[in-house]
Symmetry: C2
Subunit: 813 residues, 2 copies
Amino acid sequence: MDDDVPLILTLDDSGSSTSAPLDDLDQEELPNENGGSYDVINDASSPAAGDCCAQQSSARHNWEMNYQEAAIYLQEGENNDKFFTHPKNAKALAAYLFAHNHLFYLMELSTALLLLSLSLCEAPAVPMLRLGIFVHATLELFALIVVVFELSMKMRWLGFQTFIRHKRTMVKTCVLFVQFIEAIVVLVRQTSHVRITRALRCIFLVDCRYCGAVRRNLRQIFQSLPPFIDILLLLLFFMVIFAILGFYLFSPNHSDPYFNTLENSLVNLFVLLTTSNFPDVMMPSYARNPWSCVFFIVYLSIELYFIMNLLLAVVFDTFNDIEKRKFKSLLLHKRTAIQHAYRLLITKQRPSGISFKHFEGLLRFYKPRMCARERYLTFKALNQSNTPLVSLKDFYNFYEVVGLKWKAKRNREHWFDDLPRTAFLIFKGINILVKSRVFQYTMYTVVAVNGIWILVETFMLQGGNFFSRNVPWSYIVFLTIYGVELLLKTTGLGPIEYLSSGWNLFDFSVTLFAFLGLMALAFNMEPFYFIVVLRPLQLLRLFKLKKRYRNVLDTMFELFPRMASLGLTLLIFYYCFAIVGMEFFAGVVYPNCCNTSTVADSYRWVNHTVGNKTVVEEGYYYLNNFDNILNSFVTLFELTVVNDWYIIMEGVTSQTTHWSRLYFMIFYIVTMVVMTIIVAFILDAFVFRMNYTRKNQDSEEDNGIVLEKEISKEEVVGIIKLYKRSSAATETAQLQKIVLQMDKYGQMSTLFLGRRSRTKSDLSMKMYEEEIQEWYEEHSRKEDSQTPLQEPASASNSSLKPLSLRQRSQTVI
Amino acid sequence: MDDDVPLILTLDDSGSSTSAPLDDLDQEELPNENGGSYDVINDASSPAAGDCCAQQSSARHNWEMNYQEAAIYLQEGENNDKFFTHPKNAKALAAYLFAHNHLFYLMELSTALLLLSLSLCEAPAVPMLRLGIFVHATLELFALIVVVFELSMKMRWLGFQTFIRHKRTMVKTCVLFVQFIEAIVVLVRQTSHVRITRALRCIFLVDCRYCGAVRRNLRQIFQSLPPFIDILLLLLFFMVIFAILGFYLFSPNHSDPYFNTLENSLVNLFVLLTTSNFPDVMMPSYARNPWSCVFFIVYLSIELYFIMNLLLAVVFDTFNDIEKRKFKSLLLHKRTAIQHAYRLLITKQRPSGISFKHFEGLLRFYKPRMCARERYLTFKALNQSNTPLVSLKDFYNFYEVVGLKWKAKRNREHWFDDLPRTAFLIFKGINILVKSRVFQYTMYTVVAVNGIWILVETFMLQGGNFFSRNVPWSYIVFLTIYGVELLLKTTGLGPIEYLSSGWNLFDFSVTLFAFLGLMALAFNMEPFYFIVVLRPLQLLRLFKLKKRYRNVLDTMFELFPRMASLGLTLLIFYYCFAIVGMEFFAGVVYPNCCNTSTVADSYRWVNHTVGNKTVVEEGYYYLNNFDNILNSFVTLFELTVVNDWYIIMEGVTSQTTHWSRLYFMIFYIVTMVVMTIIVAFILDAFVFRMNYTRKNQDSEEDNGIVLEKEISKEEVVGIIKLYKRSSAATETAQLQKIVLQMDKYGQMSTLFLGRRSRTKSDLSMKMYEEEIQEWYEEHSRKEDSQTPLQEPASASNSSLKPLSLRQRSQTVI
């Protein structure tokens, strides 16, 4: 039961300290902070003085509590949760733990998705998925009840006071309330009413733990709004002036339908801003007087080419600024979290650092999946001073180090090193061949020839039944070459090394798909035929050759998660607009609906007979409707692309009122905001990346962050002893294996490599290196001066002033 | 004849040195460098040793030569002319001087414009401006002969060797030669042949001295091309892949005209990239299978929303980099020029600086318009150490200081200070009123009310004869208010101070225009009526209120010259494409021309009778043709705006071959390049400006650069004496006036203010402050090591190494 003796001591002088007296425990290893907030309450109920055994078990209990709370702090730091939502007592802690695991998150997500997908089956439903009102209303009620349950868990964890103060949660509660009432109304009346509030369902998705990136995007969009709106006003101002001018200039021309009223003038200039009606809007006046084109050229130059770009510039500038500030606040938040955790892990006796035992306790809660070896390696990686304790300064690197994946460094260079001599030589030869430039360039040539071949082949086919029953020989030839290449590479490099490169993985999957396509062709499986067209994708390999493309493609992959979250954000806007659109415009547009409007042609569907042939004149635009949510999404995408959006607008307007235009205009402005943000984001990310590579030109591009640590045999044995005492059988077995392996190769130590991919945060760290130090100093100065104000919920825990520390520890004793 | 004694000495101890012996001249005041390159030749013809008088006059001649050459160096530095084009001997100098004045520049420009405007009158001419072939061919020949003359002057100045080496000039010569032959052929055959080479005429404009900004833009465009083309290839690659995929997927659908051949598939995806055919291209396949929209969504997401933005990012990044490098090289070029000039102005005896006399001599050549007072002030402003000589370190600021406009600081605060008491009090009252916040905000309110009034009024009028004969009373009321405001402001602030603010100037002109509009209305002059619509422009005043708008508008004004030059660059591209378009497509498109193509509707012109009404169905697109150069410009602008450009393309294609599409596609790509550059430029300028204001947040926005210098009476008297000796009567008179004024107010000295507006270069200087020092050091290190290689033409002149200086001066003695 001597597990309270720090491990490092055990390793250094195992003889003297393994028999540390049990009754030293409360004096030697009392936690510096008494179990954070939770045990303060426990302590209040049971007096501080008890017998030795009770004290000892309470001390251990205290430690466990401290580990857990420290882990929670670190999680809060990582997820950017504010500390005022930190659980304050044991009851809250239970709720917190219940609400913070992947099972709960998944429940949250699936409920939100269920609610969102209900709109597929409700009133203007997708034909195949239509459900009875009773069925979908019951489903909705069920989902809403689950949300109520989730919210009540959250309330239990946050406490009523904090719950009320948490804006997002309050909005969610209100929306929930409204939805609940409406669902019951629907169930009672057995018919759907105009339920625009369904658009608010997305808030359930946005509030999910997994959608943190979407929340960040939304926040960023709202932060970019003020400057955006400023420039938008300038834009609208010029639009109004030109509308008045255009009205005065062109309304005397009666053949000009675009400027006959001020409203038309305004609407058409708005559409002109999107260029969507461009030469058309000019034509009637241009036909009358050629100089009238000056009006349009000036308007477009000012509005489209100047102010719209200014809009991008302003948003880009704001975005840049916000990104930096966000990075700063996140960094400082993490730092504060680390300080909180640190204070819970140091002991009264040794306030200068954290011992491995306590660090291991922390990791048990923070990363339960981590194995013992990794925990020790993380500890060693953090501990730069090589003392038995991790100081606060070292502990600040926690987030950078804890994400590393550790692996023993291979002694063998190739996978075939252990094979017999002949086999070795063969594989070695293949290895050299595969790695040679000649081989690579030959493959590039083959790919290029293949690409040209496909192009020419496709060009020769002119429509019709080109999927002949017999497989073309060229296909087989090229596929064979690719197959041989794949085989050579896997044998030469070993399957693991081969697949560890993204480009090889890409080659592999494309070849596999092409092979599947061949099978499909051979077996005459019609629906599979389109896989053959995937072949040209292999040409993407050619782009590996140039550095700029590698840079661009790398940036692309780095951007991908952020891009996806931005796409999701856009989809959420789409959802809101789709619901509103469906409520107002469902069933409004149909073939030949708009024969009285100016866009009649686009909605025409005429089936007339010329001679003995049936000619179908189709305008097709009636397909761009709001009849169900999928159609709405497609229509909204078309509106996003902007071209010819006014045809859709005018079609709907001619069937409803002219106020419908507001819907389309607002949608345009909203997508403009989001799109501008996306452009700004891509610009920012790319320019940042380029600046980074320019700054670090000498250091070659490496595959993420790599750290090397050596562990000696004695250390492993020491850890095993420690774990044996706390009877963790699986951990011990694993460690024992390492020792066995070391014995086998006769090594005294093993080298481990910790790897992780480089994140944007790492790049920022390097870019803002100098500024970061300033931020830290400023932060610590600010914290010193106004601690109590900053974190009211955990005021007693914050700050590391030695005085307050001593005061706290005295109250414990 | 003691004019070689430096002025500063005269001022300091006038008694001792005014009588400096004449024969000291050649020993005391020989120029350090013997008249640069020109006099080396002179010296070669006449031996160095002569009698005293000849020596003296030769020394003075030398000085004049030195002044001139120094001025030329400084001009070269300012205009970024390379030093290898520096005139090398007296003959070259004469040609240089002939070719470097505004008269010559104007001739250059007008010849170029004449040549360009010939295309208005040639073959597919603007109807009103059509000229006989004989006339325009003769005009062309005449203009070309002028160009020959210009080029021969340039050859004389550069010398044959340098002339051959100068690429731009060589290209111009070749183009000239071709044009000459063609013009003669036209004149002989009396008929125009296909003259695509006319597109090359723009080179005459580009080569003009006044079009330096255009040349810079073109250079920047060409420098941005490599990364642009890289990304373009990526774009095209995906386009080809999707074209093949689309062909396989959609060609079985026979009602889909967009993907029936691979060529169509490619062309339509190219057009889709511009979104110009968007929902239409999707519709036939979408009508058949709703899931086919995925193809288009994926295509647009990758191509339009990702790679196109990447294109912008890459260009922006390159642009950023180029801007900085350009600024650096310009800065270093100027520095070198200053060094060259400095070396020519110092004397053997005092190599540590330039005296006023020599500085004045330089300015006489560099800025002949400058008056004596300004020259002295410039000298004083440069001379920061207050010694009688300007050191090289001070002289480096030459370009920053020489642009300052000097004005005596007024002692009187207001223009009415000298008026009698009563008048003074009245004007003072008006002044206080006008400057008060209440007055300003009242005016803003009036403007806002006026704006709303106009909007409502216009909204009420619905078409028809709204220009009634009687003037509306609201117009008179508001105009009266504006008139009163204008009057109050001019009297309260004084006309000069009032008009010195851009906003006031704007108010003034708008009010004036509105007044003219009123007159037009009152006198029933129909053609003037549209001036009334200028009134809302006054609302732009409201934007003064917010800081962001002031920033944006300031940036707008700062950007304006650059924007104009970019616009001109675009016009030059337009011109080339217009000529090519006219040669190939003139007269191709006419009403009902394209009835067999898919875009027949847009070109239709049907005049049929329904009942008893004549209904005209007009497609109007036949107006977008290449029938003359003005029409071509409008058509090209429409192509630039991109929307529905494929209708123009298909119309032309249906009448010619399908190779015509190449013309339109290339034009799209070219405008895309220029437009991307414009966007990158606006982004860069704006972000730069924002960063600048963020960096200098504390220092309030000032009106350009201001320098203060005091001149005492003795100094003025000293200068007068100096000028009297060189018998410059006008200068002396002006200076005498200053002395008189000083006497009148009993001052011993006058304070002068030097002002100029802040340029981008000033901002850059401040932004890159730290880096600039590094550049200088690097530059001087490089110069020390490889001078002879760097500037072969003026190798002997370059570098300031004391050793070479001594060597040179020894040869003179």
